[in-house]
Amino acid sequence: MNTTMKSWLPPLALLALAVVLYFALPYNLAFLTRILIMAVLVLSLDLVLGFAGIATLGQAAFYGAGAYAAGLFAIHVWADPVAGLLVAGLAGAALAFVSGLIVLRTHGLTLIMLTIAVASICHEIANKARDVTGGADGLRGIRMEPVLGLWQFDFIGKTGFWYALTVLAVVFVLLTLIARSPFGLSLRGIHESPERMTAIGVSVYWRRVTAYTLGGGIAGLAGALSAQVTQLVSLESFSFTLSAEALIMLILGGTGRLYGAVLGTLVFMWVHHWAAANDPFNWLFVIGGLVLAVVFFLPRGIIAIPTALKRLGGRHAGT
Amino acid sequence: MTDPVLTLSGVTAGYGPTHVLKGIDLTLARGEPVSVIGRNGAGKTTLLNTIMGLTKMHGGAITLGTRDITALPPFRRNAAGIGLVPQTRDIFKSLTVEENLLAAQSGDATLDEAYALFPRLKERRRNGGGQLSGGEQQMLAIARTLMTGPDLLLLDEPLEGLAPVICDQLMQVFDDIAATGTRTVVLVEQHAEAALTFARRALLMAGGTIVHDGPAAALRGSDLLERHIGVALHS
């Protein structure tokens, strides 16, 4: 019981932080909402990479699929946000499943290349299908109905914020449950030793396809949030940069622990925001330095800072 | 005959921040066959790795002959005459058998000598190192180290996974090397029987220290063996 409570502490603290930020920065709700949406995407990557050990640089494929699915659904079928969310989740999952069937037959660099290729093909298809997607100009004309029929998306972005925060919280709880379930344990097992996993009768391939599909679904949710809040979907939602940045955020925070993903997103986006406001021209120096510093001094990510500090403290006490 | 070839004084060492060896003092004489025995985790491998320069030393000094080698990287120690057959074999997987041998070759060691010792390797010489069977890898590991022409040969459980006949042959080879009187052989062996038969001097390790250092014969029948590794050998 005690350990259960302890393990819920970091996420609850993050939730509290989100609420505090909401009141502390009422003028930056749009920015905060983007962080929340990105956090959902990075969480999906944590499932795929942190838990299942699938190194991918193409997570944006499912984000984009979700975004376009939600956008098109809202325009042509029904502008209800929650319904759109579900449709987007399914779209992301479906694409992940189909591409996963091929991609997950491979490993290492080949796998990374294939994930990039899948995202590139999606990008190209969305570009080609201008009549449906709006091509490079973006998919416009998304007008959402109120969330659950109650809360209209507003100018300041209050509804958007709470909506995204709710989705993030639900995804977080879901992933926490999965992490502790037999399925989650088996993903850790695959991460540790695929050979042993096979030797206990598990088809590593199908297990990975399942994880990849789930991850695709969650990335789809993130895409849907972005489409619904921004009311526009652009080709950039399939971009390599998005996949790469999500990866950086995840590793920055620390893989395998869900709150690491959220923390990494928060820190990265915040630093970016700060740098963009102060010296955008040299932003790359900041991010490059930050990334290098993390790999060299905090290889397990920001979530390892407390342990690192403890170790430092302990050493001092010792001498 | 008895001039010291290698001296360890107050050596503490380990992997990263951990200390595995805790204050080792040891002198090896030229031409002396020595056995090291001890339980799993006693620190035998760590001792050999430390002599080779593969672990992190936290304190103490190592001298080879009159030369202080404490700060030398492994390849310089190898050049100075130390050779190690690692417990994990560590075959270069992406090299062929022959390339494995060539990579280590120095001085006047030749491929023919290695193949004469292990004809099996000659048959498989174009094979990738990673494709060898367990025992073949062990043979290659030994042959490869011999290619560097070491004066101080450190053998970490070299008989593991080898067919009994090959074990016999190999022990004969080690005996021959030791018998030259100029080369020193240190043998780590789990099988106390084989170890004590081979060496004149035996080191018994436990918990990162040397708990006994003396003539091999004295260990037979002593309760030290029983206490530290849980077997009794009878002479």
């Binding site: 920015f31 950039e236 940069t241 | -």
Partner: protein, 366 residues
């Protein structure tokens, strides 16, 4: 007598940072020439980095500018999706928004608060087609980069050229990721048209395309190069001799001879010695002028400001322009230029060879 704030959303980091830099330099040049007051108001600019084509970011920046910084005007916008993403915001907050660059006609249909001081692809491509026909070119191949702007350019050129009675022998849409253009250029060569019309994004593709065009001897084979922004001034020197003789139709040439242009360039290089005036800087410069006029006329009253802007005429460094009341894109001259080496400076320039006067946004009804 209050301070009017203008939020400028543009890329200041990443591969497109040059746009943001040019916008800012042009704005500061205008301010240096005209002071910080318009009418009875002080004007202040706030710059925000959007990084690249990123509608989420554009929208959140615009929101931040409108809500926290309380800006009364928005400006900038290099990419169409970024501009489109803020349409609901400016509609709701009634904020006049001056587009310095994004060149898709239909943006302005999304809100009455959009005003554009750049151009649209129809505006320059269609006149070029007509001019080409008038020069006696009867067959043309079209090669455009396969994305929104490229396809706009293709449609515009094709429609205008065929309306005149010319023949488009081949249209090729080249992938955005193309690095080696030889296959397309060989295809054009084999088709042997009178000219090839092309549209490429700035930077590396333009460089390789023009190189390849020359190396494969298309010019010798009598195929005229027709383009738009390909020879813009910032990268022009980089194209080298390969650029000489390329024909383009565009609304601004750095070599335009007029007092306004000379004054603009002089001030610009005085403030920023390395700066090169091009379409992006002139778009921002004129946009700033438009904002000053609106502020002077209406202060922070958005609808009134837009009202004041419609039909406004002024002498821009590019020549005379008018803010079209219907399309809210400037009506302007389109110049036919040819790249030459300037005898005095030894630099490559876009020498104006002809002018098609006062062209509006021809893409508005498409």
């Amino acid at each position: 007598a209050d301070t009017i704030k203008v939020g400028v959303v543009a890329p200041y980091s990443g591969p497109f940072a040059i746009y943001g830099k040019q916008f800012q330099e042009a704005i500061e040049t205008y301010v240096a020439q005209h002071g910080t007051t318009a009418g009875e108001h002080e004007i202040e600019f706030i710059y925000k980095d959007v990084g690249g084509p990123n509608p989420d970011q554009a929208r959140s920046l615009a929101q931040e500018l409108l809500i926290r910084d309380q800006v009364d005007y928005l400006a900038g916008f290099t990419f169409t999706p970024n501009a489109l993403a803020i349409a609901p915001l400016i509609e709701q907050s009634q904020t006049p928004t001056v587009i310095f660059n994004a060149a898709t006609s239909s943006i302005n249909r999304e809100s009455d608060f959009y005003l554009r001081t750049s151009y649209t692809l129809w505006q320059v491509s269609a006149p070029l087609a007509e001019w080409a026909y008038d020069q006696g070119m009867r067959s043309v191949a079209i090669t455009v980069t396969d994305y929104g702007p490229g396809i706009d350019a293709e449609n515009a050129f094709k429609a205008a050229f065929e309306a005149k009675g010319g023949e488009v022998v081949d249209t090729i849409r080249m992938p955005l990721s193309t690095t080696d253009f030889t296959p397309f250029i060989q295809r054009v060569r084999d088709a042997a048209p009178d000219a090839v019309f092309t549209f490429l994004p700035g930077g590396p593709p333009t460089f390789t395309y023009t190189k390849t065009f020359n190396e494969n001897g298309l010019a010798e084979a009598g195929i005229t190069f027709l383009g738009t922004a390909e020879t813009e001034e910032v990268n022009l020197q980089g194209l080298g001799d390969a650029a000489i003789g390329l024909t383009t139709a565009y609304h601004y040439s750095g070599a335009h001879e007029s007092e306004a242009n000379d004054a603009f360039k002089a001030k610009l290089t005085e403030l920023f010695p390395d700066a090169v005036a091009n379409w992006a800087s002139v778009g921002a410069y004129d946009g700033t002028h438009l904002i000053y006029q609106m502020v002077a006329a209406a202060g922070s009253d958005g609808p009134a400001a837009v009202e004041a802007a419609l039909g406004l005429e002024w002498e821009s460094p590019r020549g005379p322009v008018t803010m079209d009341p219907e399309t809210r894109t400037v009506v302007q001259n389109v110049y036919i230029r040819e790249v030459e080496r300037d005898a005095e400076t030894g630099l490559l320039i876009n020498a104006e060879k002809g002018v098609i006067a006062t062209v509006g946004d021809l893409g508005w009804d498409k």
